[in-house]
Amino acid sequence: MTETSLTHEQEHHEESHARMYFKVAGALLVLTLVEYSYASWMPVSFLVLVLGLMAMASVKAGLVAWYFMHLKFEGNWVYMWLIPAGFLMMVFILTLYPDIGTQRTFWPSYSDEDQGATAPLEPAAQRSLRA
């Protein structure tokens, strides 16, 4: 038994949402396949690979946020929360930048006895390097 207080027009409007959800789901699945194929088979440079994959991931994330999370129907006040989140994100990235993770010149101070450190490449060494 249907317990609804919706009018016929309102119910039809809500059912059109279901069709939209299936369309968005189809788009997400197609994008996932394209992303997978792009990463597996496209002979592109690292930069083009990263830009392409992040673009596709952003579109997928946008579809989920806009339609499934109903961001489309939210008021503009929701975007206000992006301001402190974005600010803290930038602060975090900027504070991480001088971190040891980016200090390649740090590596030469390790001796062979130190655990896990990889010595810097000696210019005279005959090795193949691939980034």
């Binding site: 609804t4 809500e14 996932t32 991931a57 994100m89 975090f92 993770g101 193949s128 980034a131």
Partner: protein, 214 residues
């Protein structure tokens, strides 16, 4: 819920940002196809031909143990659970409680399927498969294996914990739905739980791309 999700955005931004910084700052010779991660160069004979990498490449079985095909299927699974979740919300808005219960149950089951595949992947990586020396010194891929290993397990582990919490939350919502709590005019817990679940899916979309494909 939006405020909570903003804090979660900051949490995962921290994890992904750290991953990017640590990866960008890795030594060009941190990984190789013939020696364990971070083997000192002084231990490698100078006349031996070795391919070095800054970070394990996707699909390179010599240095990267991750099964991208299985994880792509897992991404498909999680997207399906997002679809059933939004259909559950749509059902209660239309005043169809039976459909609500069915779609909520499907969402919970598909979420459990995602966790099961993750658990299989973890046990496969950590215990049941022997990987080449370029992946790990002892053949198993664990958080202690390498920087890549610790980053991978930290990021996917925290996401898995969020999915587990989401499954528990949705189970509670499902129980309430079975008790007839929700109506077309009172269903905000369903909507809020759905927001959290979609966020978890959104994070996985980004994680899959950053950790597995790049």
């Amino acid at each position: 819920m939006w405020l909570f999700l903003a804090t979660e955005v900051m949490f995962f931004t921290g994890l992904i940002g750290s991953y990017i910084v640590l990866r960008a700052g890795s030594s060009p010779t941190a990984f190789s196809d013939k020696y364990a991660p971070t083997t000192p160069l002084s231990m490698i004979p100078p006349d031996e031909k070795v391919n070095f990498y800054q970070w394990p490449k996707p699909y390179d079985t010599a240095t990267n143990p991750l099964d991208i095909d299985l994880t792509a299927i897992n991404t498909f699974v999680l997207i399906c659970s997002s679809v059933t979740m939004v259909l559950a919300l749509n059902a209660i808005k239309l005043g169809r409680p039976r459909e609500l219960r069915i779609f909520l149950l499907l969402t919970v089951l598909i979420g459990c399927c995602f966790l099961a595949i993750q658990a299989y992947e973890y046990t496969h990586l950590m215990f049941f498969h022997h990987f080449p020396i370029g992946v790990s010194a002892d053949g198993h891929f664990r958080p202690s294996t390498s920087l890549f290993g610790s980053c991978f397990f930290t990021m996917t582990g925290f996401h898995g914990a969020h999915v587990t919490g989401g499954v528990i939350l949705l189970t509670c919502i499902l129980i309430q739905a079975c008790l007839g709590t929700y109506t077309p005019t009172h269903h905000s817990p369903v909507e809020l739980a759905g927001l959290y679940w979609h966020f978890v899916d959104l994070v996985w979309i980004i994680l899959f791309t950053v950790v597995y494909l790049i």
